[in-house]
Symmetry: C2
Subunit: 700 residues, 2 copies
């Protein structure tokens, strides 16, 4: 579990890269010190002498029996390698992998891996100039190993190569998942598949598929077809599609755990079956983003008979050992208002709604056990008398997770991994489910299975969802796979930028949909100025977007500038770093690079105003544009003052405050990600002024 | 059929737009003279006074019974309108369209349209300041009408609006299709669906789905499952997926006609059933781009029994009245080599292989008739004794098509619409299936049903296919829908540029995948210089790419610069236009704009060389980059000479020739689309020099 690799030296982002849309790969350093970009970083990695040359004659072969998972992984490996290098491999890798004796890339696993938590996912890669050997106890390791080899691809004047290396790798946590909410907004099959490819690329192994909600029932039931007929607006997965997705995931070593959220979050079920709700109907699919009152009636015996049949059907459809029953955010209103339920509570001596829900959960858990499934749920399902084979997913936080571990329950962390909230990759990256000082004993520590990124879909559509998941989820993947000591934030960002581009080959749209959305916003006009703005804008973090005056529903367009903006501005991150470097050592050369950027921002209203006039949908960004310009002007004056030694303007703090307020007043609803570094620059002048005790006015 | 609309004045592309990635919408001109961008242009369109304001309160409602096709069309209309305008419509258009009495957008059709050639697709749109009325005899017209209204969306200082207008529209031809080849490269369901959306956007009504080939058998047969098991590498459409796609197409007013290519082009069938081939097996899926020898054995009675059952199954799966049997390019080698077949020909008194194939086709046609289907095939199937309800698709050309029309057969034109050959939109646009002077009488003219764009997929993948289909196929759509007199090429290009961006909202990747591909080529480095080059590069037209030294197969990567290049360079088109304008009236201002561009091209090797060094896959573009630079230098000197009146350099023709040769020597395999206008500039100097009879040397 200890990292034994030699970390290569990495280079700081040069200021010139501000204007490139993507980060620049560092050229390979001396032999044995490759600046690799594996992500997640392997548990053990040691570079050795030499390079394995990738060329047309390369042959891939499996040693021993090659099952479907390893074979398809090898095919994808060849396709992606061909795509990146443009090499016309001579091998017909679609139908026949070459006999091992001739192969230069050999893979071997002892058996097919079981898709269950705790299965062996380890692998070893040994690359010598003549041969790549990928060996793993199970074919899950083969899948992971091929991804690592692809991440090692490099080039020099002689062509493409993979550096010679010895890798021994295994995950730190057994459960590394992404929750995808297909309910608030439906996510078509191709969205699910391309995200499965993304998960495989960063060695995640669980798709937690949120399939029922107040706002939609997304799975075909053949036993109760009215569920999807009445509850989905026609937007649901057929069982054939679900089986296809499960197979696709399985090929990539990924479990698919379904979530059917009960007893709350269940309005869409009641569109077809109002009789199972705790309050009188009729019901229809909820369009608003509310935690609905509608809740299953735990006092109605028909509810259990119904759910018994439903779970029986779903248990046959989903092979995963776990079924997630949600169990969160039942507000109890319908239960309180229903006299039958009040009577039921009294009869059963259930003192409150929490006890009633515990009763309900026990009944459900028994049903699931009957159908061969373990139960999982959010923090709320935790009750001492549930059997210890259930698992808890914590949205509340580590304390809640540790509490359940101490009580003997396995669990995983989602708090801190809510990628829909548009927080930084750094924030997610440093959120460790099990730091060294976690107040747990060794047995309790083993109950911490891992974590899950959660992609709730109130504010995303198939067009934007990838941009909220990627590349930040890769930072979570590394936290859950790599040794705990791998925590270098700058190096994570360096590798994340490279990975982000690589993820595009899987069809992910996180980068390419931005320009497309800007083109729609401008009605086909030049998007250049808008791109300059969107590059330094971030969506408001957390749930703040819901408090900007507009009430979002399932039908609201998510096509505005804020939707096109990446959750985390890379330009702002680099600007911040450049400001820090300048402040550490103010010099004209560094100032020049900053000035180039700042002048561009200062002039942005001139460029944007005509666009805003032609596209009414852009009206909301005018305050952001003005605020950016004001900030840039202040920063330019601050730079000048710092260079010249002249002190700052008295009014600066006030001007800056006004600009920040103006930006906040935008309905965009986004924030300027460069505000903090600008503030830092300005404050540095004021500090200097304070130090010098002078009162001259800076000029720009 | 006569165009009665007033064509609005349109503006020439300004030179400043060279650098924008997309064309700029002309702002609305005076009332009643809107610069609209409907494409295809309606048969009748007259602007009237006023504007219909689009706002949150807008309600859409259906008059009379609203079937599923019209309802889903209305839903898509609202979604796309919301997406473009950012408006939060208050109506819950997913589940309930408002009652008509309150609605400001009203649609009404008398009945559901039948998806067969010749069904009524007409519609009328009347827009007044208070109301939009969309009326059509069938719901096919409703689908078309909503697309037209979306294309009329405009904006002014008061927000979004649709200009008041009266439209009476109907198609010129009843058959307006796209052939999609899912065999050479498999095209997943989402690729098919997004292209169906594209077809609907330009009012095309047939997806001709090429499903079996030497290189793959792409449809699930439940009667003969070994067909897809042995013949598809696992890449085929399940029957559930096919039904889903047919429904998706039907919602959009599009027929789905399957093609099962027999007796040739059939290697993949024989992977499972070698006994039905005319030569000895075994067979496996063909990987190379050859017209294979393997051919069904017309002398084997079991072949007809087998195909009878197969077509029975497919007739149940595909509701379209037509089944396309291909019938093209049977080279006869297997027939000649088989003594049984030679004997069979003698017995049946079939003088040659054409007669034998005619025999085969008659048998197949009888089978299809039995299963309720009409037969369609390529030119080769034309035989006088086939019944007149079959239809001919002409890849050979108009003469062949007219010949079949004179013999009494219906047919459609594909020659000139091969979008895979990377020809210009103008070329396709001016290719009329039935010009006024076609040598046909009135009855024969009615047999010309329309045409089909053909997207053969030897050299495209799901990543690039959209860029070969769109936007050029829209030019074909207009040729087949709009009145014959609509032939203004410049205006077509103006509208095509706008449409191209609108098509992106349907998920089409023709624009956005280019940058993605460039990012992969540079390994994440700045793509700017590469974009400058790719913007003036075009893939070699026709089949020339196969003659550049590399042998393409099904496994070859299609990820190089040529694959990222658009089939038609818009930058080159505008450059050509600017050169023409400059030559018509040389002046320093016009020269300045050209110079800006030319200097950029001249410097391109400096910018590209480092990229090429880091990415071996880019090595092949160095000659193109050098040639572009040389041409730009020559053009700059020519500009200077033309402005100053100084005559040209003696060596210019030779230098230009060298540069062109160098470009041609590139293995990229692409051509510089700006070569012709550069040549024009240079020749203008030489001409001038000739006129002046002087021999001074121009300098730059």
């Amino acid at each position: 579990m200890t990292p034994v690799f030699r970390r290569p030296a990495h280079r700081c982002a040069a200021i010139a890269f501000f204007f490139s849309t993507v980060f620049v790969l560092s050229p390979a350093a001396q032999v044995q010190e490759f600046s690799h970009h594996t992500l997640p970083v392997p548990a053990g990695l040691t570079f050795t002498e030499g390079k394995f040359r990738v060329n047309e004659a390369m042959l891939v072969g499996g040693l021993g029996p090659v099952g479907s998972r390893a074979r398809t992984a090898a095919v994808r490996f060849m396709e992606r390698l061909a795509g990146r290098t443009g090499l016309f491999f001579r091998q017909d890798y679609l139908t026949a992998l070459e006999r091992p004796e001739n192969s230069s890339v050999l893979f071997k696993s002892e058996r097919a891996g079981d898709l269950r938590p705790g299965e062996d996912e380890s692998y070893a890669v040994t690359i010598s100039p003549d041969r790549i050997l990928l060996a793993a106890p199970t074919d899950l390791g083969i899948v992971h190993g091929f991804e690592t080899i692809l991440q090692l691809l490099d080039a020099d004047e002689d062509g493409y190569f993979v550096p010679c290396v010895q890798i021994d790798d295994r995950p730190r946590f057994v459960w590394r998942g992404l929750l995808l909410d297909s309910c608030r907004h439906f996510m078509p099959v191709d969205v699910v598949k391309r995200n499965l490819d993304g998960l495989a690329a960063v060695k995640m192994n669980v798709l937690h598929w949120h399939l029922t909600e107040d706002q939609g029932f997304r799975v075909e039931s053949r036993v109760f077809p009215r569920l999807q007929e009445m509850g989905s607006d026609g937007l649901f997965y057929t069982q054939a599609q679900i089986r296809d997705i499960i197979q696709y995931a399985s090929d990539r070593g990924i479990r698919v755990m379904p979530e059917f959220d009960i007893p709350g979050h269940s309005t869409s079920w009641f569109a077809a079956y109002p009789e199972y709700a705790s309050g009188p109907g009729p019901y229809q699919v909820e369009r608003k983003w509310v935690v609905g009152d509608p809740t299953f009636n735990p006092a109605n015996p028909h509810v259990y008979a119904f759910l018994d049949k439903f779970f029986e059907e779903m248990a046959g459809l989903f092979p995963d050992p776990y079924v997630h029953i949600g169990g969160d955010e039942n507000n109890g209103r319908q239960w309180d208002a229903n006299p039958d339920i009040r009577r039921f509570k009294a009869e059963k001596k259930l003192p409150d709604n929490a006890a009633l829900q515990a009763y309900f959960n026990r009944r459900i858990q028994q049903l699931l056990t009957k159908h061969g499934k373990k139960m999982m749920g959010w923090d709320e399902i935790l009750q001492p008398d549930l059997p210890r084979d259930i698992a808890i997913q914590s949205w509340r936080g580590r304390e809640s997770l540790y509490e359940s571990a101490r009580r003997g329950f396995s669990g995983l962390l989602s708090n801190g991994y809510y990628v829909d909230l548009c927080q930084s990759a750094e924030f997610h990256y440093l959120n460790d489910p099990l730091p060294d000082d976690a107040p747990l004993d060794e047995i309790q520590r083993r109950r911490i299975l891992g974590g899950e990124a959660t992609m709730w879909s109130e504010l995303v559509t198939p067009e934007t969802v990838d941009s909220r998941v990627w590349p930040r989820t890769a930072a979570i993947a590394e936290r859950l796979w790599s040794p705990a000591g791998v925590r270098d934030v700058d190096d994570m960002y360096r590798r994340l930028d490279v990975l982000s581009v690589e993820l595009e080959e899987l069809g992910l749209t996180h980068l390419k949909n931005q320009d497309m959305m800007l083109r729609r916003l401008t009605g086909g006009r030049d998007i250049g100025p808008l791109k300059t703005l969107v590059d330094v804008v971030q969506p408001l973090q957390g749930y703040k977007r819901h408090n900007q005056g507009l009430t979002y529903t399932q039908l609201s367009p998510l096509t505005r500038l804020v939707d096109a903006a990446a959750p985390e501005s890379r330009t702002a991150r680099r600007f911040r770093r450049a400001v820090e470097e300048f402040l550490a050592s103010p010099n004209p050369a560094a100032a020049e690079d900053l000035e180039l950027l700042l002048r561009r921002w200062k002039d942005i209203p001139d460029a944007l105003t005509p666009l805003i006039r032609e596209s009414p949908v852009l009206a909301e960004i005018a305050p952001l544009s003005e605020a950016l310009s004001t900030m840039a002007a202040l920063a330019l004056r601050a730079l000048e003052a710092l260079l010249s030694g002249a002190p700052g303007d008295q009014n600066w703090p006030e001007d800056l405050g006004k600009a920040l307020d103006a930006a906040r007043a935008s309905k965009a609803p986004a924030e300027l990600a460069v505000a903090a570094p600008v503030e830092k620059l300005v404050k540095a002048v004021l500090l200097k002024k304070g130090e010098a005790g002078r009162d001259r006015r800076g000029q720009y």
